[in-house]
C-alpha cells in the first residue's frame, strides 16, 4: 500500500477528523477568498494565482503538524480528491507560508500521468504562522485551504 506513511489503520479516525476540518476550512475560505490572508504578500500571491477563476468544492487534505519543534524540517503533505484524467486533473498546487521572509514555498505541477494527487516535502518555517495550499485545476477553477503551525524554534537562520 502506498499510503502507509500518511495514515495507517491506527490513524484512520484521526485522519478523517483532520480531513473534515481541512475540508470545512476549504469550503469556508473559498467563499471569502479576498479576505482570508492576514499578510498582504500572501493575499497578493493568492489573488495572483486565483484571479478570475471560480472556486470548486472538493476534498483537500493538507497534512501538517500542529506544533513543529524544529522549524528547519517541517513535513508538509497534501492529498486532493481528483480523478486525474485527461479531462479533469489537478494542474498546480502552491504551498505558501505567510510568516516567512518570502511567502512562496513550492509549486507542484501534476499531469494526468500521476494517477492520484498527493505529494509531500519538507519546509522551513521562521515562526508560528499560517500555511496555505492553493490548488488549481485544469479547467481553471481553484480550491484553497489553510492550517496554522506553531513553531518552537525558527528555521530561517535569522
Amino acid at each position: 500500500m502506498i499510503r502507509t506513511e500518511i495514515g495507517g489503520i491506527v490513524n484512520i479516525s484521526r485522519r478523517k477528523a483532520v480531513r473534515m476540518i481541512a475540508v470545512s476550512s476549504a469550503l469556508f475560505c473559498s467563499g471569502f477568498g479576498d479576505v482570508l490572508a492576514g499578510k498582504p504578500e500572501v493575499s497578493d500571491q493568492i489573488n495572483n494565482v486565483i484571479s478570475g477563476s471560480q472556486a470548486r468544492e472538493v476534498d483537500v487534505f493538507l497534512d501538517v503538524p500542529e506544533i513543529a519543534e524544529n522549524g528547519n524540517q517541517v513535513k508538509v503533505a497534501f492529498e486532493i480528491e481528483s480523478p486525474m484524467s485527461e479531462s479533469d486533473f489537478v494542474k498546480e498546487v502552491y504551498i505558501m507560508a505567510d510568516g516567512n521572509p518570502a511567502p512562496n514555498v513550492a509549486k507542484f505541477n501534476f499531469t494526468p500521468y500521476s494517477g492520484e494527487c498527493f505529494a509531500s516535502t519538507r519546509m522551513r518555517l521562521s515562526k508560528t504562522q499560517d500555511v496555505y495550499l492553493v490548488a488549481k485545476f485544469n479547467d481553471g477553477t481553484h480550491s484553497i485551504t489553510q492550517s496554522t503551525i506553531k513553531v518552537t524554534i525558527g528555521g530561517c537562520g535569522g
Binding site: I2, N100, T111, C156
Partner: protein, 108 residues
C-alpha cells in the same frame, strides 16, 4: 562540503494501473541567502530550484522549489503505471548545474 548526491526510492516492479509512490531525496545545503557564517558574512543563495520527473521522455511531474524548502530536499509524488520504462529524475541548481538519476520500472 559533502558531495551532492541524489537518491530515489522507486519500486522495481509494479502492476498495471497501480499508483506507486516515488520518494526522492537529494543531499544539498539549500543556502537560502539569509544565513550568516561564523565570520558574519552572508552565505550566498544556492538552492535546488527545480525538480523534474520524466518517464520514457514525457514529463510526468515537476516541482518549483523556493528557499523555504528545507536542506536535503525530500519530495514524494504519485505515478500511475501504464507501461514499462525508465524514470529520469533531474534536479536543477541555481546557476544551471543539473543532477540526474535514472531508474527502470518493470510491469508484472
Amino acid at each position: 562540503m559533502s558531495k551532492i548526491k541524489p537518491r530515489a526510492k522507486i519500486p522495481k516492479e509494479a502492476e498495471l494501473d497501480e499508483v506507486i509512490e516515488i520518494k526522492t531525496l537529494i543531499r544539498h545545503p539549500m543556502h537560502s541567502g539569509r544565513v550568516k557564517d561564523v565570520d558574519g558574512k552572508t552565505i550566498p543563495r544556492l538552492i535546488i530550484n527545480k525538480f523534474a520527473a520524466m518517464f520514457n521522455g514525457k514529463v510526468v511531474f515537476t516541482v518549483n522549489l523556493e528557499p523555504s524548502i528545507s536542506s536535503n530536499p525530500y519530495i514524494s509524488f504519485p505515478f500511475k503505471v501504464k507501461e514499462e520504462g525508465t524514470f529520469e529524475l533531474s534536479w536543477e541548481e541555481d546557476g544551471g548545474n543539473q543532477y540526474k538519476l535514472t531508474k527502470s520500472l518493470k510491469v508484472i
